[in-house]
């Protein structure tokens, strides 16, 4: 076969490499390969390259944790600007009475690993006292035991329960090379801008929806509250508790779910870091 004829087979070989070839085309191609050493070599080289690329270990190329926030901070306002409170109707807050600040919460990881993606920002209204909402009753004894429940026997991978948090860091700081029963604890910093609030807390799956929640402390910047949560990898539904009696989703979290009770949960996803 001359080169000109071989050109016609290029596309066939390309599809053949990926198994995307019709039976009659395959017969034609295989006949050609049987009599054309040049195309056979070419085919072998491309298959080899395909194999080489596929055998590459995954490059855990992660954006730096602050990039997400930097991009959001650089989004121009104006035509695309819309109220952050679109979904907050059920709390009966006056949009006019609320002021908002966007804050960044960065997922920090211990042990100097490659950081996971940026955590969500948290924003809160300043005038929660205007909420026409009955205060939830405090429920005694609603905190789950501090010991993670053992993983069920049939589960192929034993993991600690995502609903409980080991407050005493009882696991090593190094990330396990493979999934195992031991998980790295991630320190998540959560900020909330709530200048009019007297008390701010966060509650959720991580503490068994404790009615008191984990308190946020004033961060030093006006109106800003913050706390650290130590979480193992997992998905956690959470809400903020503002001034002790109002449960609200994190309105700036990208991850929101109906909570099944007529409200909204924000979801915090804590992922495994890249293997060290």
């Amino acid at each position: 076969m001359d080169t000109h004829d071989c050109r016609k087979f290029e596309e066939l070989i390309a599809r053949y490499v990926h198994g995307e070839i019709l039976r009659h085309e395959r017969e034609v191609l295989e006949r050609h390969l049987a009599e054309c050493p040049g195309c056979t070599v070419l085919y072998g080289e491309v298959v080899e390259t395909d194999r080489l690329i596929r055998s590459l270990p995954p490059a855990d190329v992660l954006p730096p944790p602050w990039l997400h926030a930097r991009i959001m901070a650089n989004l121009p306002e104006g035509a695309h600007r819309l109220s952050w409170f679109a979904g907050w109707g059920r709390w009966g807050w006056s949009m006019a009475a609320t002021s908002v600040g966007a804050i960044l919460a960065v997922l920090l990881m211990r042990g100097g690993q490659t950081p996971s993606p940026v955590r969500t920002a948290a924003v809160s209204p300043s005038s929660v006292s205007s909420a026409a909402h009955e205060a939830p009753r405090a429920l005694p004894g609603s905190v789950l035991p501090a010991v993670p429940p053992p993983a069920p026997a049939p589960a192929p991978v034993a993991v600690p329960a995502p609903v409980t948090v080991a407050r005493n860091a009882d696991v090593p700081d190094a990330a396990p090379a493979v999934a195992s029963a031991v998980k790295v604890i991630h320190e998540i910093k959560i900020y909330l801008y709530a200048p009019a609030a007297q008390r701010v807390a966060v509650t959720g799956d991580f503490n068994g929806w404790d009615a008191k929640g984990v308190e946020l402390k004033p961060s030093g910047k006006p109106g800003m509250w913050e706390t650290d949560l130590e979480l193992k990898p997992g998905a956690y539904a959470y809400n903020f508790i503002v001034d002790g009696d109002v449960l609200v989703p994190d309105p700036d979290s990208p991850n929101q779910m109906p909570d099944g009770f007529g409200g909204t949960d924000s979801i915090l996803l804590v992922k495994e870091g890249a293997p060290a």
């Binding site: 429920l139 192929p156 929806w209």
Partner: protein, 207 residues
């Protein structure tokens, strides 16, 4: 040296042996726990023997399935406090037991129920939310099993099931998720929350 004036502690092993033999020698011993559940029920106004027996049975089944009593008992206390009636208590226990038997994260139901309590949802809604979790988590398990047959490695079964259940509650069906992932891969199909929990050692299956 044992300080004077303090009772000499019973050696731990001996104590354990005594307690263990107590359970072995007296067949009625497991009822010890159940009786306390009866007491909890009575304190919350559930008093009919038939109702007590139903809750006792569901409670025992949960423990038999492997839910530690240290978690179960405070949970039952909470749901009784939230005024779930007998059938609702039984249903929530059955849901937890079924998840445990299937190797799924039953504590998600505990957490969901407690969330409903903090949010003062009606007992009926709380039970509904627990059942929704059972359905979505069961569907998640099917998805993970299918992905495994497609060569995916499930690195974190329980969290992967949890994340998938959220997608399912959002409206995706299990088969739909499997098809999308099969065609586009996890990232390509947009199920990015799953990455890290489920992966494919070989990037794309050779055909």
């Amino acid at each position: 040296m044992i300080p004077e004036g303090r009772p000499r502690p019973i050696p731990g092993r001996l104590l354990a042996l005594v307690i263990l033999s107590g359970f072995l020698l007296f067949p009625g011993a497991p009822a010890f726990a159940e009786r306390s559940v009866d007491d909890l029920c009575r304190m919350r106004g559930i008093e009919k023997e038939n109702d007590l027996a139903r809750i006792r049975k569901a409670y025992s089944a949960a423990i038999a399935a492997g839910i530690p009593e240290v978690q179960l008992q405070p949970f039952v206390e909470d749901i009784l406090l939230h005024k779930l009636d007998c059938s609702q208590v039984v249903r929530v226990l059955e849901v937890s037991t079924e998840l445990r038997r299937k190797g799924l994260p039953y504590f998600v139901v505990f957490s969901k129920v407690r969330e409903g309590m903090v949010k003062e949802a009606s007992p009926a809604l709380v039970v509904e939310a627990a059942e929704a979790k059972l359905n979505s988590l069961s569907a998640s398990r099917d998805v993970l099993e299918s992905l495994k047959t497609m060569g995916y490695r499930v690195r974190d079964f329980q969290n992967a099931a949890l994340v998938l259940s959220s997608y399912i509650e959002k409206g995706y069906t299990g088969p739909d998720i499997v098809t999308r992932i099969g065609t586009k891969g996890i990232q390509g199909a947009g199920f990015t929350a799953l990455s890290g929990m489920v992966d494919k050692p070989v990037r794309r299956k050779e055909r």
